[in-house]
Symmetry: C2
Subunit: 423 residues, 2 copies
């Protein structure tokens, strides 16, 4: 390729729901690109993900100091903005794909890095295809990220380990609280966690318990149809044994007909069906049928933004994958994604491998059936062996005035060279 | 007192809602008592608070190793169990007060330490009175504790600083998340925090913002009647300015008629009014009137159990007050409570002082009016100056296998010497 003779620029974009460590990947990527100078030109970031690329709204990361880029490693959220926007097939949205290439050409983008989940890997793959069809020399590399932990061909997904550590920590702490209060007050505590389709995060709550007596006592997975009678019997038994019962429930819990519990329960003051709040639905059910006083918590964004208690393993992997993406690009590998390969559980050892984007795109990895205990309310030893290393190690951010000291970048715009484009 | 000739025992009890640092007070108290041996005998703890004292269900803490007692300093919840049980006046419940003295006599309790909030200080004061009336030599010392931060005569209450640090950290982190997503998805984030009658915890959320542009953008205090029109106008303005809006709301938010918003809004599938969930009510109101997509989180017990991100200041004060209680008792001070006296804001300096229980009991300290900004949606500089030192410093617990390593004591029962007592 003639284009390799002069250093071409990078475009990096963040996609989908952000995590506590997606910026650690950005940090690794930008640091590796800076170190690779002059083989690589500037690193631009798309503002608000692929939308910024389409709108030619690019950020010049070279305006940021090395120190501030280093601080990305410990800053949650998406430093350049993300978006929920899925490009359809090339045939359906050819104008958009061509616009992307036009923007790339205008800014001499030779490397496109897309940091996201399954949909984003699909998009990155299609961008690679359209570039090839149009004869535009481009290397596309995906960087995995999702708290849902549902990408195939990687042992785990950056972002998940830190959510796992946060929910297990929170469950353990709330468990100590409820145990203290159970004699005269709260006997039931329910923590609702993310996971619309897969129970990975709910399973991670189970790491808090070192024995059947310890919180959480029951897990409610989206993979297991909610059986009210069996569940209530288990709650009652738990309270009779231990004087309290703690439960982690996935937002995606369904009944035997496959309906989300969160869609069926309550209506608000305006008569709308309430989404979310399955934690409260389950807690209120216990109160109504068994009479136990409850508390419930909804972790929501707190769980995926909780950089203050991130997993060091997760941070290191997110950072390593960002760096690896640059290494792959420099080696001329196109339409690939660096992945985590597990070498051993204990001691935990891992390395970075490579997968083809076409093999990753649009395939959801489910939780293995043998990770859920036979009764459907807990995790197995195999699940523990898989999950335990992912929450290993702490990587506390610096604190200032009592609070985590996160960086806000300047995010200066790159001067535009093209006319507007209507989405 | 003849009783001082031979070492008399201690009874320590935890009361009311537990905190991330009430065990730090227990740690300080037990360590000081052990160090004072042989001037003090054994330290007994009442199982589940005052109920254990009434039931003669006592725990012998001398069975616990020094190491495990030291681990209390970093363990949340109430290690001996707490309870919500308020003794009424001596005239109304004379039998219960007399029973307490009977239990004290049976176990040669010379020192009673009650670790709790305003109600508990009232009880401790009454116990002191009944002991005097019955001629039983007893020293009663209160140890302050409450996340509500509403005790008078102390600059702050142990437990509050750690909740403050947790909610401000969480608000900051979620703010980074929402800012990333606002372009195409979530524009509103609401965090519901504790505070039925006072806005201390809501105010603490405000510490996360270093400018008006930063989360949280709006605070909803129980002290300020909710004005839907003004609130929605502010939300709209905020979204137009910054593309998103983040809000912290107190569970005790009320309308202009003084009714809790949480009591008025939604009904569940069974037709019951839903308590709690004011965060969702406020978020749904925004969605209905302004059309913005929202997320909301309910911190609930997570906020007061979050020992993993406790304030070092709070831990040190809780510990110091536990030790000071023993010092006061050994100095023969009866019916008192050690308190925190602030010497300066910046640098923050404090010392332990003393208040009489009769001056503390049943008086709620409100948030000063000049701590809430003129528009009712924020905190003033005076409020910041007060709050900032309380979240200063970190005191991470030890982690093991990726999770905080908290202690569970053996809590061995002291053999009973008295017949049963019906409450």
């Amino acid at each position: 390729m003639a284009a390799t003779a002069i250093p071409r620029n990078v475009l990096y974009a963040q996609s989908g729901g952000v995590t506590a460590v997606i910026n650690a990947s950005a940090c690794g990527l930008i640091e590796a690109a800076r170190a690779a100078s002059p083989r690589i030109g500037k690193v631009f970031a798309a503002r608000n993900g692929i939308l910024g690329a389409l709108a030619e709204d690019l950020i010049d990361t070279s305006a940021e100091s090395d120190t501030d880029i280093a601080r990305l490693r410990h800053t949650p959220g998406g430093a350049f903005g993300s978006c929920r926007y899925k490009l359809k097939s090339i045939d359906e949205q050819r104008a958009q794909y061509e616009r992307l290439i036009e923007v790339f050409r205008a800014h001499d983008i030779g490397y496109f890095f897309y940091n996201g989940g399954g949909d984003s890997m699909d998009t990155a793959n299609k961008v690679s295809q359209i570039a090839e069809r149009l004869g535009y020399p481009l290397i596309c590399v995906g960087v995995p990220k999702t708290v849902d932990n549902d990408l195939p061909l990687t042992d785990c997904c950056p972002g998940f380990g830190s959510v796992a550590k946060y929910v297990a920590t929170s469950m353990r702490e709330a468990g100590f609280d409820v145990a203290s209060m159970a004699r005269t007050s709260t006997k039931i505590f329910v923590l609702e966690v993310m996971g619309r389709h897969a129970g990975w995060i709910t399973a991670a709550c189970g790491l808090a318990a070192q024995s059947a007596a310890e919180p959480p006592h029951l897990l409610l997975f989206p993979e297991v149809a909610f059986d009210e009678v069996r569940f209530l019997a288990r709650v009652k038994d738990c309270v009779e044994r231990y004087d309290y019962c703690t439960i982690a429930v996935s937002e995606g819990l369904r009944d035997s007909a496959g309906r989300f519990l969160s869609d069926m329960g309550t209506r608000d003051a305006f008569g709308h069906a309430q989404l979310g709040g399955v934690g409260q639905i389950v807690a209120q059910l216990i109160k109504d049928r068994l009479g136990y006083k409850y508390h419930w918590a909804l972790a929501d964004y707190l769980q995926r933004a909780a950089r203050h208690v991130a997993s060091r393993t997760d941070v290191e992997q997110a950072y390593a994958l960002g760096r690896a993406a640059v290494d792959l690009a420099l080696a001329g590998r196109n339409a690939v994604m660096p992945v985590i390969e597990r070498l051993s559980d204990s001691p935990y050892r891992w390395q970075v491998g490579v997968a083809a984007l076409k093999d990753v795109a649009n395939i959801e990895r489910k939780m293995p059936a043998d990770f859920i205990s036979a009764d459907g309310f807990g995790i197995t030893d195999a699940c523990r062996a898989y999950l335990a290393p992912l929450i290993e190690g702490e990587d506390f951010p610096p604190f200032r005035d009592g609070l985590p000291d996160y960086v806000r970048l300047q995010n200066l715009a790159v001067p535009r060279r093209l006319p507007d484009f209507a989405l």
